[in-house]
């Protein structure tokens, strides 16, 4: 177990390093010049001379490798530099936004898990009957509707028509519900199929015949015998979906006028604000890697066969 964790941690560090290189390279090679934008922001005319002056000011004239080393050195200490656009400390800006996005993703993950389990079980309990078809239809609908459209529908239904929930900004716990639901729709749809198909496969396994021969009923077999068997698969799929939620957050946060990492990232991209974009990308990637690590550990805990290989 310890061996496994230390090995995976080492892998994760290597992965993080490679991710930082990719982050930096991608951002640096993106078209557009932030110095021009800064010059314009200051109300000056972006003459080549003035742009050069700005570039020197923010260190854009240094060699790429040095810029990378400087940036990485600061980043590992938690210092993501100063935003070109606002002149504020990126790390300070991010601290609160990370909390917001974190709660957003965590809540959506819980909702997606509950919905997908409910839909999946519904389908597995009455395979190929009406509940299964409804569950399948909902999954198809949820998986094929774009998130921005889902968000707009949610606002239209719950805020405009029924006036139950606030549509933007942060105004008490009720404000979380719509963004949570909006982000949860796609992963819930995908995961419900994982549950449904996993349960069906488990229900045709020979050990289910044994369970039936023991006199267990269908419900008991589904929950006691089949569910533990799909847990590792489910956790794996959930991990992927939670990782992808960062991408959804970029769309959903501006939609609900939320100040999260996704919203910050988008603003950074618009302004070629390297410092902000790099910081957000690195946070997203770290999140992805950490989620994967947690998933691997959780699978280890839920599947005794894999556990054995590492003990």
């Amino acid at each position: 177990m310890i061996h496994f964790i230390s090995k995976r941690l080492k892998h994760s560090l290597v992965l993080l390093f490679m991710a930082s290189v990719v982050c930096f390279t991608l951002v640096v090679s993106a078209p557009g010049n932030v110095a021009v934008l800064i010059a314009e922001l200051r109300g000056a005319v972006a003459t080549p001379g003035y742009v050069e002056q700005v570039e020197e000011e923010i260190g854009l004239n240094k060699p790429l490798l040095m810029r990378y080393v400087d940036w990485l050195g600061d980043a590992v200490r938690g210092d993501f530099g100063i935003s070109y656009r606002t002149g504020q400390d990126v790390s300070a800006d991010l601290a609160n936004r990370m909390l917001v996005t974190g709660i957003l993703i965590a809540g959506s993950a819980v909702i997606a898990t509950l919905i997908s389990l409910a839909l999946g079980f519904l389908g597995a309990f009455w395979p190929y009957k009406l509940p299964d078809r409804v569950s399948r239809g909902l999954a198809l609908l949820g998986a094929s509707t774009p998130t921005f459209f889902v968000g707009a529908l949610m606002i239209y239904a719950f805020s405009v028509t029924f006036q139950l929930l606030p549509s933007f900004g942060f105004d008490g716990p009720k404000s979380w519900i719509l963004p949570w639901l909006t982000i949860a729709v796609l992963p819930a749809a995908v995961l419900s199929r994982v549950v449904r198909v996993g349960l069906e496969e488990a229900m045709t396994s020979p050990f289910v015949l044994t369970a039936k021969s023991k006199g267990l009923g269908r419900t008991a077999i589904l929950f006691r015998e089949a569910l533990p068997n799909i847990t590792p698969i489910f956790i794996n799929a959930l991990g992927t979906q939670v990782g992808l939620m960062t991408a959804t957050a970029i769309i959903v946060e501006p939609l609900f006028a939320w100040q999260g990492v996704g919203d910050y990232f988008l603003a950074g991209v618009r302004f070629r604000d390297f410092m902000v974009v790099q910081a957000c990308l690195l946070i997203f990637l770290t999140f992805f890697i950490v989620v994967n690590l947690i998933v691997d550990l959780a699978v280890l805990l839920t599947d005794p066969r894999i556990r054995r290989q590492w003990s």
């Binding site: 395979p127 229900m203 045709t204 396994s205 020979p206 050990f207 015949l209 044994t210 369970a211 039936k212 021969s213 023991k214 006199g215 267990l216 009923g217 006691r224 015998e225 533990p228 068997n229 847990t231 839920t302 599947d303 005794p304 066969r305 054995r308």
Partner: protein, 331 residues
């Protein structure tokens, strides 16, 4: 009560309907088992021996419509026509099942102890603590060393033989009166087969249960069973006490089966004495004797009508062969 058979099957026919096909894997078979007795059901793969025992107890794969006719009485109670909820109560409680492949018959992600104990909770109304104690007892009963440690283990940590012992422990946990063992030794090592068979025979005798042993291994039959039913193509070809049927087989199919067993004095390199031909498919109805195309005794009359089981010169043995039975009245 004691002279009445525990399990009494008469004229059982099973039709299986799937979306695409209809087959009749069991066609008018009768047999019975008394308490403390062991009945072997022998036949090649696809002869209907498993379906015959599983279908009346509702153990069929989903997606298959099972149609039963005839009569299956367990302790005098008719099973055919009984609602699934009632049959579910009998499974595990009155009838214990042992399966062919212990490698896949246990749930891979649940502890062995739970898999046994839940039977005692379900059927003997035990608390989970009492059920754990009962599981420990059962694991000892089936001859597993270091029983307490085994209960905490998972199936993949045990060998095939140990797993089959666990499957047997599960089957015994509800204190059933009838044990149905579906090729319990087929998937095991030859060296382990004998141990498992001895164990099965031993618990069956000790707990005075009735046992139906489904197998295609004549060695298993000779070692464990009191009576035998030889199945061919969904029908019973011959039945009677094991010592009589194995020693002097009357039906050409039984003879062929026994003759096919390799003998010690066979020279190395001798070809197997298998039956020529292949068994018929069960999709189409068979008019005469199902064995006729493969039979050395076959005469044209064999194809006319289905041969009935007829009492042979030994009144305990019934044979369904028109040639062997010539001149005898139907039983």
């Amino acid at each position: 009560m004691h002279d009445q058979p525990l399990l009494d099957v008469s004229n059982l026919t099973v039709n299986l309907l799937t979306a695409k096909s209809a087959v009749r894997p069991v066609d008018g078979v009768s047999y019975s088992v008394r308490q403390g007795e062991c009945l072997a059901i022998v036949g090649e793969s696809g002869s209907g021996k498993t379906v015959m025992n599983f279908a009346p107890l509702g153990l069929m794969p989903t997606g298959v419509t099972t149609m039963l006719s005839g009569s299956v009485k367990l302790e005098g109670r008719e099973l055919i026509g009984l609602p699934e909820a009632e049959i579910q109560k009998l499974r595990g409680k009155s009838v214990g099942f042992i399966f062919q492949d212990p490698m896949s018959a246990l749930n891979p992600v649940r502890r062995i102890g739970r898999q046994i104990a839940e039977m005692a909770e379900l059927h003997l109304n035990m608390t989970s603590k009492a059920a754990e104690a009962r599981a420990l007892e059962l694991v000892k009963l089936v001859g597993i060393s270091d029983p307490a440690a085994r209960l905490r283990q998972y199936p993949h940590e045990l060998s095939g033989g140990l797993r089959q012992r666990i499957v047997i422990a599960i089957a015994l946990a509800g204190e059933p009166k009838l044990l149905i063992a579906d090729e319990p030794t087929t998937a095991l090592d030859v060296t382990v087969q004998a141990q498992i068979l001895r164990l099965l025979k031993d618990v069956q005798r000790r707990l005075n249960m009735a046992m139906v042993l489904i197998t295609h291994d004549m060695g298993v039959v000779a070692g464990a069973a009191d009576n035998i039913v030889v199945m061919y193509a969904a029908r019973a070809a011959e039945c009677g006490p094991v010592d009589k049927v194995l020693v002097s087989p009357r039906h050409p199919y039984t003879r062929g089966l026994i003759n096919a067993i390799p003998r010690r004095e066979d020279p190395i390199g001798l070809e197997f004495r298998g039956l020529p031909g292949i068994p018929p498919t069960l999709g189409a109805p068979i008019k005469g004797c199902a064995l006729a195309p493969r039979c050395e005794l076959a005469v044209p009359a064999c194809g006319n009508s289905r041969p009935p089981l007829v009492r042979s010169d030994d009144s305990a043995v019934l044979v369904a062969c028109p040639v062997v039975n010539q001149g005898k009245a139907a039983a």
